[in-house]
């Protein structure tokens, strides 16, 4: 289920009990995890969760107060950034404004002491790869955001680093471009086989691209797992709330056994659902994703009644807000046919969800 350690035999990065404080503010509280070779690993969390601090530690711009960081089995905490085989794609891209695109991409290679001919080849190759070949002689100021992004990628990948760090690289792009760049980044990672460590606060980006995700909150790792695990089996309320949309219901645990819990819902129903957090009896939270709740003639599993109090038609799907005996529930329904969005506002309809799609979390 939860994998604090990567399954791959080789570990590209090992973070061991890393702590960091800025004055009185504790940014990281004894964080530990591994990142496997060739993995697309995402650190996901709200601002201030410590994800950027961790990334900067991997690059060498910050050092932990305690704990250690291993890169391919080698301790790197004392090694300065310019001697780590790690490259960064900065959020602001940080392209050198006084250099051409060519010179930007060649910069790292020159510092590594590559021969001129080899640098020229590699720069040409990288510019082709990010479809910027014809613009080699331009300067960063003459580029659009998406083009700068590509150059930043080419510059960081050119020296063939052991690990590529990406600090919210898509946040400055518009929606369409962001989607295209996601696919491009994923392809680039698969083709190069380089370990990518991606930092974002956008859960959709994280779910879409990652092999594994570490959800960070309050300076701690909340959960590490594959996108499906994170979305479908959140270990606590923080993860369930931060990743995707969900309904939280206050429930009472009657009995627990073998990863399942029998609970009483606010609507007076008793069901048995998967549980990750609590094992004790008493108050707990049930998380049900809106798309897991089905309405009208599609209602199945555990069925009760609800009244539609609000409706948001989004085209491909419709969001409904339901009143179920005083508790608010959100449901979304895919508009599979033209007549999909047929439930009128104010109607009382059957509401249901399959017990296995809900999850009990610690209160």
């Amino acid at each position: 289920m939860t994998q604090p350690h990567s399954t791959g035999a080789q570990k590209a990065i090992e973070v061991k009990s890393v702590s960091k404080s800025f004055g009185a503010y504790q940014a990281l509280k004894s964080v530990s995890f591994d990142i496997g070779s060739n993995e697309f690993f995402t650190m996901l969390g709200p601002s201030g969760c410590g994800k950027t601090t961790l990334l900067r530690m991997l690059a060498g711009f910050e050092s932990p107060d305690s704990g250690s960081i291993l890169l391919n089995g080698k301790e790197v905490v004392a090694i300065p950034p310019h001697r780590r085989r790690v490259n960064t794609v900065f959020q602001s891209y940080a392209l050198f404004p006084h250099m051409t695109l060519e010179q930007n991409v060649a910069y790292g290679l020159e510092n590594l002491g590559w021969e001129q001919a080899r640098i020229k080849n590699r720069v040409g190759e990288m510019l082709e790869r990010v479809h910027m070949g014809p613009m080699a002689r331009r300067r960063p100021a003459q580029l659009s955001g998406g083009q700068r992004q590509r150059i930043a990628l080419a510059r960081a990948l050119a020296p063939e680093p052991e690990v590529l760090l990406l600090d919210e690289p898509l946040s400055a792009l518009d929606l369409k471009l962001r989607q295209a760049m996601r696919d491009e980044l994923r392809t680039l990672q698969r083709d190069t086989g380089i370990t990518f460590v991606f930092v974002t606060h956008d859960q959709e980006e994280a779910l879409d691209m990652s092999d594994r995700i570490a959800v960070l909150g309050g300076g701690e790792v909340q959960q590490i797992g594959t996108p499906t695990e994170i979305y479908e089996e959140p270990v606590n309320r923080f993860v369930a709330d931060f990743v995707g949309e969900t309904n939280f219901l206050e429930v009472e645990v009657l009995e627990t056994a073998g990863g399942e819990a029998t609970i009483r819902t606010p609507f007076g129903l008793s069901i048995t659902v998967p549980a990750t957090g609590p094992t004790a009896r008493g108050r707990a939270t049930l998380s049900v994703r809106p798309e897991k709740i089905n309405l009208g003639n599609q209602a199945q599993g555990l069925i009760f009644e609800g009244r539609i109090v609000n409706k948001n038609y989004m085209g491909g799907y419709t969001h409904y807000t339901l009143d179920v005996s005083g508790t608010e529930l959100r449901a979304s329904r895919r508009n599979a046919s033209r007549e999909g969005d047929t439930i009128p506002l104010g109607a009382t309809v059957p509401v249901g969800f399959v017990a296995g799609s809900a999850r009990v979390l610690a209160a």
Partner: protein, 309 residues
């Protein structure tokens, strides 16, 4: 004719408004135009005129146009009217450029690390340090130069300090080019630190991180990222230091002992004790011409750097 007839109605419609703005800009700018004219341009023309006049018998000058003032920079007129080449004033011009250049270079070497250090401080301390840099401006320049005389002169602070360290007693560091240079560097330093600080402050710190990230050590980062991106500030500082240093008067007179002259002190001498206004004016015009050449060359180079691919 037809043209103006066609445009006539439109003109009358817009004329009052356009006229108002035209008048406003004329009368509004008048005070600054007058100030520029009387305080800046007119004196230059007066000096230019004086440089072409003839030296009066008892000081002053007569409106008898000739180039004697300029000729005197290069030639001495003998008893019989023959012209004899004399390098003494050329040497002074050379010394002036050498000292001003040295001042600029030394100021640069000190100002870059100082400005870098200030830029890395937290905001409160940063403001305090910038204030400290400008502090000498609040004290009269002549007092600051006298302070240096007290430090470097015979029985001054530095010789006494050296004496206690076992050096021979009675050393003096005054009345030489070193003393002049020291005071010039001290006087000009804030003019260098401020523009350099401004450009370093503007520099995006992520670019320095990016350089380190791409295997650039400190030296490479300084040479290939920091210096090229702060070049405008360094150039501005160099101009602000070099140009006034060319006209230094107090430092060579007080610190250098007045015997080793610079153009500034030479000009002052001609208008004062030398009583040769046309010659003083000619040197002043020469100095101005040299400064303008320097500025034009600098700005052309800056422009080329921007255009370069």
């Amino acid at each position: 004719m037809t043209d103006s007839a066609l445009h006539a109605p439109a003109e009358t419609e817009h004329a009052p408004r356009a006229r108002f703005w035209h008048d406003l800009s004329f009368w509004g700018l008048l005070p600054s135009r007058l100030l520029m004219g009387f305080a800046l341009i007119l004196p230059i023309f007066i000096i230019a005129a004086v440089s072409l006049a003839t030296r009066g018998a008892h000081g002053g000058f007569a409106w008898d146009l000739n180039l004697a003032g300029y000729r005197q920079i290069l030639f001495n007129e003998g008893w019989t009217g023959e012209l004899e080449f004399t390098p003494q004033y050329l040497l002074i011009i050379g010394r002036t450029f050498l000292l001003a250049g040295a001042t600029t270079v030394i100021c640069l070497l000190f100002a870059v690390p100082v400005a870098y250090f200030i830029s890395r401080q937290p905001p409160g301390r940063k403001a305090a340090l910038v204030y400290l840099v400008t502090l000498p401006f609040w004290v009269s320049m002549i007092l600051r130069v006298y302070a240096w005389m007290i430090i470097l002169g015979k029985d001054g602070t530095l010789p006494r300090l050296l004496e206690t360290l076992g050096f021979p007693a009675g050393m003096s560091f005054m009345f030489n080019d070193g003393a002049t240079l020291t005071a010039m560097v001290y006087t000009a330093m804030p003019l260098m630190v401020l523009p350099v600080f401004a450009s370093i402050e503007k520099l995006d710190g992520t670019l320095i991180e990016a350089s380190h990230d791409l295997y650039g050590d400190r030296w490479v980062t300084l040479r290939r990222v920091i210096l090229p991106l702060t070049a405008p500030g360094l150039t501005a500082g160099a101009i602000l230091v070099f140009v006034p240093s060319l006209g230094a008067v107090l430092e060579p007179t007080l610190m250098g002992g007045g015997k080793q002259m610079m153009m500034g002190s030479l000009i002052q001498l001609q208008f004062g004790g030398g009583r040769n206004w046309p010659f003083g004016a000619a040197i002043a015009m020469t100095l101005m011409a040299l400064v303008m050449i320097f500025l034009i060359v600098t700005s052309l180079r800056a422009a080329r750097r921007e255009v370069a691919p």
